[in-house]
Amino acid sequence: MPASVPASSATSVTLQARHVRKTFTSGHIESTVLHDLTLDVHAGALTLISGPSGCGKSTLLAILSGLQRADSGQVHALGHDLSHLGMRELESFRLQHTGFVFQGFNLFPALTALEQVELPLSYLGLPKDVVRKRAMDSLEEVGLGPRMKLLPAELSGGEKQRVAIARALAKQPELLFADEPTSALDAANGQIVIDILHRIARTHGTTVLCVSHDPRLVHHADRVLAMEDGRILSDHVPPSSPTNEPR
């Protein structure tokens, strides 16, 4: 299998896929999106899954994050066997352990940046002041401290994506999933976003799994998995990866 573990083997494995298979049927046509895929993802690193559209990378992300079920095979996340969890248990698992950043920012137009971040936090059952503090801290971390009272309509695209990252980050998740986080952004903002994701992996020890076809991101990842036709073709540490650079 191509899932040989690269340089950072010392870190723990947080996401594990074993012989995962996923097929979609539309009408009479059955198309296999993932073929018997096996993969380990590590904590404290930014892992990038790249590949052309339709290669199955988003499906893989959905299965690894507990948003979708595999047809066969096993998925372990933080030691939980996701294939055996019910809908409620999956929701609760996601609430406790995962953060998501999507290509569209998906912010509620009526809420300020601070409220966007507080909203999912408030479902964690935390005291009000803790929710407020965590939300403010994560907005500071993505550099939006001075703009936290603004509505989405008053923020730029890059700032909106940073709010979305802060919303995911504030939950202090062990697993952070990002799907095409830079596709809707210009180069400068894409750079800022990927830097933030990378920093989160390093400073919080978070497992950051990012799916993108944006070639600019390759150099910012700790590990790059190239996918095509539902299979992982290569698994390597990019040449200019921060992991290889002297700290």
Binding site: S65, F100, G104
Partner: protein, 377 residues
């Protein structure tokens, strides 16, 4: 907790406005319809509700106050014999034909012959003492202000009832009734106007007051115990008023009409409201899906949608209450019979809130489309 439902409602008020208006209009229609029905059919019992008697004794089985038949004077004796009855007064009902001084053709009228003394119980709530005293003049009648036009007279004019000359000595308000125009006269005048030969000298009802602190229902029950003084039935004023209103409501088929219309209003209102709420959910479907991806459960998302429905309902109700009260005030000013009691008001408002909540439940189903996996491309 971030008030997502309320903040979205305020921020996207244009989106929710049709739903608020639908609930508001539905609620307003229900309220006005109820007020009209209560007002119109309540006026079937003005004789009872505008008088201060506690008990009404009349012909056995009478279904509505306007259907009274002459009863024996002995019934008054029977009432007076009860230790808890402190006062008994006769009331004479005459169906008659009115000819006004202006050309109005014949008008069917109900003449109420009442005791014109200052302490009389009949119509004590609508006749000031000075006006009541004027009934003592032979042939004097009082009519409702709003009926002057249909009677073709002004105050001071003469007219004919059953061919006898009468004179309008004054007007009052709150005398309008169902089925005909109410004319108030003294017992003596009414006797003259009554041309039916077989009820000469016979009263239609005897009304009575009971000792303060005694329940009228208990006395009524006791009086209904025997028929030794001829056939009669005694009702409490409240029961007889209700019986009269209900008789009219069902006799005319208006009751079924009201229920039918209420059903239509509910249906149309909930279609508009649910469509608006569904559109609002679809408008935010990606955000809801994101929350679900982040682990916010479906149940919590449903609560947000239902809370939105609740606020839409509450705002709609407030609109309808404000407009409803303004319209009721105008109606009262124009003598349009409209009445609302707290119970019916609450029932109408509850129905409209139910409409909002049912629409919310329909919108909740749309949340099934909030599939976080669909956010991944």
């Amino acid at each position: 907790m971030v008030a997502l439902a309320r903040k979205t409602l305020v921020y996207e008020w244009r989106r929710f406005l049709p739903a608020i208006l639908a609930v508001g209009f539905a609620s307003l229609l229900q309220l006005l319809q109820a007020a009209l029905v209560l007002g119109i059919f309540g006026s079937a019992s003005v004789y009872i509700t505008r008088s201060s008697a506690d008990l009404w004794a009349g012909y056995p089985g009478t279904q509505s106050v306007n259907l009274g038949r002459p009863i024996s004077e002995d019934v008054a004796m029977r009432l007076r014999m009860d230790p808890d009855v402190v006062k008994v007064e006769p009331f004479r009902w005459v169906d008659a034909d009115w000819r006004g001084s202006r050309d109005t053709g014949g008008v069917s009228v109900f003449v109420s012959g009442i005791d014109a003394r200052p302490d009389g119980m009949m119509f004590s709530r609508v006749l000031p003492l000075a006006l009541r005293a004027r009934l003592n003049e032979p042939g004097a009648v009082i009519v409702d202000e709003a009926d002057l036009d249909s009677l073709g007279v002004s105050v001071g004019d003469s007219a004919a009832i059953n061919g006898q000359r009468v004179r309008v000595v004054g007007v009052s308000r709150g005398l309008r009734a169902l089925g005909g125009v109410n004319i108030v006269a003294s017992l003596e005048t009414a006797r003259v106007l009554d041309i039916a030969p077989n009820d000469a000298g016979m009263m239609t009802y005897f009304i009575a007051k009971v000792r303060p602190g005694v329940k009228p229902a208990i006395v009524a029950n006791r009086l209904n115990g025997s028929n030794a003084f001829g056939p009669y039935t005694v009702w409490t004023a409240k029961a007889f008023a209700r019986e009269s209103s209900l008789y009219w409501m069902f006799d005319t088929g208006a009751g079924a009409g009201v229920l039918f219309l209420a059903g239509i209003v509910f249906l149309v209102g909930s279609v508009i409201t649910s469509q608006t709420l569904i559109a609002a959910v679809i408008g935010s479907i990606r955000e809801y899906a994101t929350l679900n991806a982040l682990g916010v459960g479906r149940g919590s998302l449903r609560k947000v949608v239902l809370e939105q429905a609740f606020w839409v309902g509450a705002l709609g109700l407030i609109c309808s209450i404000v407009i409803g009260f303004i319209l009721l005030a105008i109606a009262r000013n124009r003598s349009v019979p409209m009445e609302l009691n707290p119970l019916i008001t609450i029932a109408c408002l509850a129905l409209s809130m139910a409409l909002a909540i049912v629409s919310g439940l329909a919108a909740v189903r749309t949340l099934r489309r909030a599939d976080p996996a669909s956010l991944l491309r």
